[in-house]
Amino acid sequence: MLDHLNSVAANPPRVVVIGAGGFVGGAILTRLAQAGANVVGLSRKQVDLLAENGAASLLDHLREGDTVVFVSAVAPARNSHQLIQNLQMAEAACKAMSQKRPAHLIYVSSDAVYADEANPVTERSVLQPSSFHGMMHAARELMFKAQVPVPLAILRPTLIYGARDPHNGYGPNRFRRQAAEGKDVGLFGEGEEQRDHVFIDDLAEITRLAIVHKSRGILNVATGTSTSFRAAAKLAVVISGNNSAIKGSPRQNPISHRHFDIVDSLKSFPAFNYVPLREGMQRAVQAEAS
């Protein structure tokens, strides 16, 4: 649950997005600029947090009282090396921010911090990561909380999809690209697993809302509606207008589902509505075409 330190929404003096070169950071930067925020994006070109002078280099770009959105990551962290790299990046950021304190910090984490079997997931579900990626985010949450003593909002998005996603992971993005090219859409097993897919613009908007309300606490970023991969593949084919076949494959892993109970979102931002999967996928197709 988030609580809002600003009773009336207002843009802060300056927002710095660390990790603005990525899919998520870029979308947040764009949304904030559209909404008239004074926003600065830092990508690896400006600040390499893994460099020896990473902390000092970030310090040069920060001002006391900034609102900082930290998105930068080697993601997804697939092994211990990447886990440690991500922690080094967070350590450099903590060091810089302990010297020039922001007024408000937003950390974009992940729902991978929760136990795989946590259903329905809420912000009160137990943290029990089963992957390097989840462990990395859980550790970084703790680092920011313990080492940067300012109001902190932790956003935990579930699977994100949208235009220009470089990962092209299994799910709506890959499906719509396969369908657009008229290729077969491939499923693991028969695509029975249900997942919640969140549109990138929604994550950007929730981040903006957390900024203007100066929110602190934890919020999952998920629509509250889970869809099977097969249903998402069907949507992708329908949207493409092509006749791509949807093909299953021998199942390698047992079926698991993930559902979210999003009442905290309904309470934190009552007037905000998530984009349904069909509409989000259509918008992603249009955005990539333009």
Partner: protein, 431 residues
């Protein structure tokens, strides 16, 4: 001569218990340090709302008297401590008030009088009270708001915590208890204190089962109202078991008992994860209306206007402590709301665009959705056809199923209640 019974603390529990004692033909003294409260009660203007309260007060006449002076308790043979024991946000009891009251009462009591703690205290408390153990008792109360009088007059059994359960109870106390015509069950202080908690844990378990399976029923096309009667006919479950689905556990006392068990289990190292599961389940069910409302109305109609029936935490009470309606309204600040409650004024709710209505139908006028948050019996009398005429939208969210589903459906309204999603069976067939 019949013993004289005293009650220290004219709370909801104290007042109801005192009137019930008088109704059994005993002379009763009600004491409370709040002189204004005593004056109101003496004038039969009661600060609580319970069915039959006024009638009983009239019937008992002068058998009961009230005072804000402690000395009034001097001639009592048995004095009940019936003050409120407040809880903090974590459900922990603040025992400072009851401790102070016991000390004050003990000073004025006659040397043979018994002292009976009637309010809810954690296990171990009664034994720690400094008062002669052979005259100190803990009696389990099972106050249920809205049916408190009936339960006080006809208890299923009387559970008495004693220092030494094999010793006979003092004669006046025994005479008083016998008037209720039900089993009297003496047991150790600690057993009686834990018995009260055990009763509530069983109730919470039933409610949690009902809510869990009612939610599943809503998703798979089952109807919990068809299932529950079958369970009640099972001897192992029983006709009075708490199987009516609702919005989680509420009221504060059940939460207090769960918190007490969790605290004791933590200290003693016993396994009690079930009780945490109760709390998680309850928190989830509490937001049922908010979920349905967003899904069916607010996500589709950002300009919706809403009607709320009921602000009291349950029917037949004025109490809004732990009110589900007030908690919901606090999450709906972007939307205008009209409210009606037969007892609680609209001002009890904090909301930037809230208006009180003169009656239930008036509250529903122009609303896109009606939320029936307290199952007041009066609401059953409102015809869905009349509702459909005054409402702008067609959504009735009625967690306790106050209105009759078939009639609501016939009026062309969409009815959402706990335990079933009518129409879903057809959707499942067509899917």
């Amino acid at each position: 001569m019949k013993p004289v019974i005293g009650f220290a603390g004219l709370t909801h529990l104290g007042l109801v218990s005192a009137l019930a004692a008088a109704a059994k033909g005993f002379r009763v003294i009600g004491y409370d340090s709040d002189a204004a409260r005593v004056a109101e009660i003496s004038a039969r203007r009661f600060p609580i709302s319970e069915p039959e309260l006024g009638e009983i007060a009239n019937n008992v006449g002068d058998l009961i008297s009230y005072s804000s002076g402690l000395s009034a308790l001097r001639d009592c043979h048995t004095v009940y401590i019936s003050t409120d024991v407040p809880t903090d946000d974590n459900g922990a009891s603040d025992l400072s008030g009851i401790g102070a009251l016991i000390e004050q009462v003990a000073v004025v009591l006659s040397p043979h009088a018994s002292l009976v703690i009637l309010c809810q205290v954690p296990p171990g408390y009664t034994r720690s009270v400094r008062f002669p153990a052979e005259r100190l008792f803990y009696q389990v109360e099972t106050l249920v708001f809205g049916v408190a009088i009936q339960r006080a007059l006809q208890p299923e059994r009387l559970i008495i915590g004693c220092a030494e359960p094999t010793r006979a109870l003092p004669e006046p106390y025994q005479a008083f208890l016998s008037a209720f015509g039900c089993p009297i069950m003496p047991m150790r202080y600690e057993s009686a204190e834990l018995c009260k908690i055990s009763i509530n844990c069983c109730l919470v378990a039933s409610v949690t089962v009902a809510n869990t399976l009612a939610e599943l029923s809503e998703s798979i096309g089952a109807d919990w109202s068809e299932i529950a009667p079958a369970l009640r006919l099972d001897r192992r479950i029983g006709p009075y078991s708490y199987l009516k689905p609702g919005l989680g556990i509420a009221g504060g006392n059940l939460e207090r008992d769960i918190a007490t068990v969790l605290r004791l289990a933590e200290v003693q190292g016993t396994e009690a994860s079930l009780l945490n599961a109760f709390l998680i389940n309850s928190a989830h069910n509490r937001d049922w209306v908010l979920r349905i409302l967003h899904q069916e109305v607010l996500d589709l109609q950002p300009q919706a206007s809403l009607a709320v029936w009921g602000l009291a935490y349950k029917e037949n009470t004025h109490s809004t402590k732990n009110s589900q309606a007030l908690a919901l309204i606090a999450c709906l600040w972007p939307w205008p709301i009209r409210v009606f409650d037969p007892v609680v004024p609209a001002a009890a709710a904090a909301h930037p665009a809230l208006a009180g209505a003169r009656d239930a139908l008036d509250a529903a006028r122009g609303a896109d959705a009606l939320l029936i948050m307290t199952p007041w019996p009066d609401f059953k009398d409102i015809g869905p056809h009349d509702l459909s005429k005054v409402m702008k939208g067609d959504v009735i969210i009625d967690p306790y199923c106050v209105l009759t589903p078939a009639v609501v459906h016939a009026a062309g309204l969409r009815h959402f209640f706990r335990g079933a999603r009518h129409g879903l069976d057809r959707e499942l067939v067509n899917a």
